[in-house]
Assembly symmetry: C2
Homo-oligomer: 389 residues x 2
């Protein structure tokens, strides 16, 4: 089984660029990834591409071949869709293909154009990641769904909106150094508590923004990286995927994410590490409560204790296990099809010492990336390790 | 490398059922596939699911987890989208996963609900498989695109609408025995030539219908099939995928399908057979001209000669290599996300001797299935072989 190397990564700025098409965004991200990697486009044997709402925001399906052209490659291309975990699923498949010796060089990534729909339009488009017949038609949107999860968590374990606020404050703080982030502005707990309420208990600053952006990652086999003398010290050593019922009312618990747990256990086992080995994590904090559920599902915090992790400094930049040093979805932004691949890019840079926030994790050798779709009906988890830096 | 067995298949009727949801259709198809296979739902380790236009026709994305629930399984689920090749791509990935020993039992399939959009709405929805910026906004729809391809073919090689008409006649004839087919009615050449023109030279009977339907296939490793004493004589022995530029104007030729050729060459090589070994084929005849381009790309006919294959009886049921014994997309119907998986089901049944038209290919041992997306910007090809019957 071949190891899988992160040869290069490329991100656009995440933010509010409604005039840019998805293909424009992905052309930029993939171009940066090729430049970063030193890999020739002609060597790419496949594009695995994540996109969620292109049908609605750009009247464009069948984006695989389109994005191969945007990236300047000639290779079969496949689009994966798992809501906000779309490019996480693509990364997983790319890892498996390289490991199994099917291909040596794969371009994986994703893009999303969202802000052209406006906030209400994008919120409505995002809702198609939930069950249309039983949730969406009853008025459910994702802020409402995660608010239900937060309330269920508070009911079972305690905790408050103020606890959640510390997560938003932390992630904004982390994004200050990330020039690609949508928000590079500090906020404090009062800002979060005083912000307009979106769906009780969640307010505006508990919620990730609507974002445009793209992410691309060039993955290669270990043999290819060695033969081409690539500077690729980070490997993806573990991959996992989990699934759950789509609709919240079909779950046993609203305050658990078993799909993320399943994906995490598989990825840890695959890499031969456990949660104790994790030095840095990017998790899917589409809402503040989502970060709590994610770090508990990944065993980075015990169940019921994740709520205080940011407040008590365990997951801040100078904490034991920094979470979302990129700023997370909350402050970096969340162009949904790009997010999973962007997390791989962030963790890889952090481990390689090439990230503005690498200074907080100078001795880090092992990282984790957690990408979730819907109310975590889909989840992927990847473990990354640096061999030398 | 483990061989991959077709353990069971299930199809809904294809046709005009606008009241049925995608989940309803896939529940039926998957239930039939499990019944046909004798495989327990608990043994399924993954669902790979193809769907194209659910966002537009059902306001429903993130269909992986939804369809896992509809199928009654608990396993990670991924949705693949490659326009009309969506479930072909899913089949390919399932084959690779089983071969590589990752999983032993995978449910693969797809569904599409289309007729609820009406003919004009469905045609517009299908158009998102083309390049929105450069084709669709200029007024291009798929009948127009394939008409351009037909004209280019006629210009280069000769041929006439009457030649194409024989393809439609043949595929309607083949569907007479297929109780799942949308059209079980014979037509003659004059019917085709006298039908309303859609986009010159193509008329109504050169075009596949708008269809609702679902297909499901249970694939297992050879070891699993043996250990569970499954009746699964047919194996998928070759798989290939090809890609091309999305927009027609970026192609070197309009009368060639290099993506299908690439996929075919890879699949033949993978199975260790050549085109001469093929006894029966299901190809993607979304329009009559598409069947010509497909059989030429797969080397079942020489380039420039496929146009006369149906007219001269080489591809009819009693011909040398029967094409689309199911009725093809033309007469069986084309619920786009289901089509690739349905072709696997049809070829498997034909080879196993379980198809109403198996009598035409009583000695057949090797079949091929060709699934295409858009104007063949995506293509998958699979080779199936029967070991004993």
């Amino acid at each position: 089984m071949s190891d899988v190397r992160v040869a290069g990564t490329g991100l656009t700025s995440f933010g509010n660029t409604p005039e840019r098409t998805g293909r424009d965004l992905f052309a930029e991200a993939s171009s940066k990834a090729f430049e970063d990697s030193g890999v020739a486009r002609d060597d790419v044997e496949g594009l695995l591409y994540g996109n969620f709402m292109g049908e609605l925001s750009e009247h464009q399906g069948h984006q695989g071949p389109l994005m191969a052209e945007a990236a300047g490659i000639q290779a079969p291309a496949t689009r994966y869709e798992a809501a906000c975990a779309s490019s996480g699923v693509a990364v997983r498949d790319a890892v498996k293909r390289i490991r199994n010796g099917e291909e040596d060089v794969i371009l994986v990534g994703g893009a999303e154009r969202m802000t052209n729909l406006g906030t209400a339009g994008a919120t409505e488009a995002l809702a198609i990641a939930a069950d249309d017949l039983w949730e969406v038609r009853a008025g459910m949107t994702f802020p409402g769904a995660y608010a239900l999860m937060a309330k269920a968590y508070f009911d079972e374990f305690g905790g408050s909106h103020e606890d959640l606020a510390h997560i938003a404050v932390k992630n904004h703080e982390n994004a200050l150094n990330n020039e690609k982030a949508q928000y590079q502005s500090a906020i404090d707990v009062d800002d979060v508590l005083d912000a307009p309420q979106v769906s009780s208990p969640l307010g505006l600053y508990d919620s990730c923004p609507i974002s445009d952006g793209a992410a691309a990652v060039v993955l290669t086999s270990e043999d290819y990286a060695r033969e081409h003398d690539l500077d690729a010290p980070v490997a993806i050593t573990g991959t996992g995927q989990g699934g759950d019922r789509l609709a919240l009312h079909d779950r046993e618990h609203l305050a658990r994410s078993p799909a993320a747990r399943e994906a995490g256990l598989e990825a840890y086992d695959d890499a031969g590490v456990d949660a104790g080995a994790i030095d840095v994590a990017e998790v899917h904090d589409c809402f503040t409560i989502a970060e709590v559920l994610a770090i508990e599902a990944l065993d980075l915090e015990s169940v019921g204790e994740g709520i205080t992790a940011a407040r008590e400094g365990r997951t801040t930049a100078d904490g034991e296990t920094p979470i979302n040093l990129s700023g997370g979805l909350k402050a970096k932004g969340h162009p949904v099809g790009a997010t999973g691949a962007s997390q791989i890019a962030e963790v890889s840079k952090l481990l390689a010492g090439d990230h503005p926030n690498s200074k907080y994790v100078a001795d880090a050798t092992t990282g984790i990336a957690h990408n979730a779709g819907g109310t975590v009906a889909s989840a992927t988890v990847h473990i990354l390790e640096v061999s030398d830096r």
